[in-house]
């Protein structure tokens, strides 16, 4: 929800980034305030996922210029784990599988690490079990998830639920969800979207990276940005997403070119 006076969480200015020596982001400006939902749309290769990963600090994405100030700190100078500890969360498009590492052990370590940094209570395995089960219930996740290896053999939908579960546990100030809707059937999409909505407060914000408008029916954006060729070429309200769905990306890019 847009509130004019709410504090700025993230301010990106002139962000340029390379992958394997090729410039993918060519100057991104975006401002996200507490309480807002932003959607970043655009076709494949427009730079959406690169923006998400560059902000989270993936080592393969080399930032060449620009700034990204998150709650007063330039995150581009921070290690990825420090960005996460500061409250920046990336929901992965393709969550990585880690064989042999139990989801429960992984989730608890992540949770306790972040709790410790924030000076909040860390939980022992039994306490954590109660805590995580309550969160899982909201995402309609089976308790068996805890015993399985991290994302190992998970279906696409299970992986995405697991991402939102991590978001629920870590309670980030800013969550960037990279194509969380892809690979979800309509029921799973509804559950995941409800989970995200439940986590939204006036103090945090969400940036949804997506191809399609369908997720935005459930999580209603305050701003919709359209990316093309490594730049944000158009910004509007939620209606822009509906219009895009109806008229296609050529409509925007053609308009820009014209």
């Amino acid at each position: 929800m847009i509130r004019a006076n709410s504090p700025i969480l993230l301010e990106v200015r002139g962000l340029r980034a390379n992958v394997a020596g090729v410039e993918i982001l060519k100057g991104i400006d975006i401002t996200v305030r507490a309480g807002e939902v932003h959607a970043i749309m655009g076709r494949n290769g427009s730079g959406k996922s690169t923006l998400a990963k560059a902000l989270a600090g993936h080592p393969a994405y080399e930032v060449t210029s620009g700034t990204a100030v998150f709650e007063g700190r330039n995150v581009l100078e921070m290690a990825p784990e420090d960005r996460a500890r500061a409250g920046l969360f990336l929901g992965f498009q393709y969550p990585v599988e880690i064989a042999g590492l139990s989801n429960a052990a992984f989730l608890r370590l992540a949770y306790n690490t972040v709790q410790g940094i924030r000076g909040q209570e860390e939980l022992d395995p039994l306490e954590f079990d109660d805590h995580v089960r309550a969160k899982m219930k909201l995402l309609e996740m089976d308790a068996g998830f805890l015993e399985r290896s991290v994302n190992d053999g998970f279906s696409g939908g299970e992986k995405k639920r697991n991402e939102i579960l991590q978001m629920a546990l870590l309670e980030p100030r800013l969550a960037i969800l990279d194509e969380t809707d892809s690979g979800l059937d309509i029921d799973a999409l509804r559950v995941v979207a409800a989970g995200v909505n439940r986590l939204l407060t006036p103090q945090n914000a969400v940036v949804l990276v997506t191809h399609y408008q369908r997720m935005l029916n459930y999580i209603v954006p305050d701003y919709v940005h359209v990316m093309e060729g490594g730049r944000i070429v158009k910004t509007g309200g939620k209606d822009l997403a509906v219009e895009l769905e109806a008229r296609g990306y050529d409509w925007v890019t053609g308009e820009v070119a014209a």
Binding site: P59, A110, L170
Partner: protein
Amino acid sequence: MSSVLENLVNQPYRHGFVTEIEADKAPRGLNEDIIRLISAKKQEPEWMLEFRLKAYHHWLTMTEPRWPNVKYPKIDFQNIFYYSAPKPKKLASMDEVDPELLRTFEKLGVPMNERAALAGVAVDVIFDSVSVATTYKQRLAEVGIIFCSISEAVREHPDLVRRYLGTVVPPGDNFYAALNSAVFTDGSFCYIPKGVRCPMELSTYFRINTQESGQFERTLIVAEEGAHVSYLEGCTAPKFDSNQLHAAVVELVALDNAEIKYSTVQNWYAGDEKGVGGIYNFVTKRGLCKGVNSKISWTQVETGSAITWKYPSCVLLGDNSIGEFYSVALTNHHQQADTGTKMVHIGRNTRSRIISKGISAGQSNNSYRGLVKIGARAEGARNYSQCDSMLIGAKCSANTFPYIQVNNHSAKVEHEASTSKIGEDQLFYLASRGIGTEEAVSMIINGFCRDVFQQLPMEFAVEATKLLGLKLEGSVG
């Protein structure tokens, strides 16, 4: 590969230590006289000397194996001391122990009483009158278990030793086994009588204050009908030895319904990061499931040595017998490992299971080599093998050499293999949840090794987990 990972795995070996040793040495080189001297020094019976001499003459006709996937300069066998009675200089108190070593014990969680023994402190100084070793020995004697050095066993229990020594690994089995049979000077003997379930894990810890582990160790474990024993060899604490060549032989014999579980954690000096120095660990380990329904299970965590050449094996002679091999082999820097197992199915309905996890970092070379052989009369034999390799960095290598020979149509043999890489993506995923690189690497590695660590006795598993973390620890960033 990111420089973070490179730094992480390229840590110097910081925990080695040397105790000054005054030795009672025979001259360098090997001949009949040296063997007679060893036998005389050990006050051995005539048959033992004959065993040694026969092995020696066989050894002279043999050549070093060249098939392992390892490289090293030619060993001059006439330039080695084959007899050296070690007199470790005992330190008077824990205050004299290298503080770095104490920190390592701390990190590994080695119990207080064992720290003293490992650091070479006279145990009596620490514990008033009754040493830990004596206490254990008494408890074992109460149930009829014999647990002593092999030299003592040759003198005190000659009939038992003579009945089993060399029956699983014959003196002429291979080049290094023959050499060991001729010159072994140390090792353990363990005998579990019929129907006895050993009341504790037997560990070489309990002998360490009286015996330095030798260059040519010989271990023999016999479990009589229905007996059960779990034996732990080595320790996670790093070990330095001035002897470069180590050629041990371990023989296990399980009679009807007996079960032997043999766990090893090996952390010998691996050489420096340029590959200079380090132990050559050429070991022959074999278990014979002689009786029906017997079971032998090998679990090993190999992290040390410059070169490891080792194939703990099971000969499944008794019907319904079971052989197991669970292995984690980690190599870093210039370490080379060629390790695996042999499962030889002879009896009916014999079963074997192989779980091998190889981790290569630095410029190391890690090979799994395994043989599954199903004999003609092994009706209903089954084997399952799983060999997984993990690479850290771009300069190391991993190889798998599975050999399968099946001579019975009713056999079922399964082999699965995988190779994976700790990649930036896994580390980034964990980092994006607030988990730092070192902890992330440790979690990924321990996840990878979980199936093997589950087989280790509890305390050992905890130590092994920490050990792998230590071996890959480094300055991050």
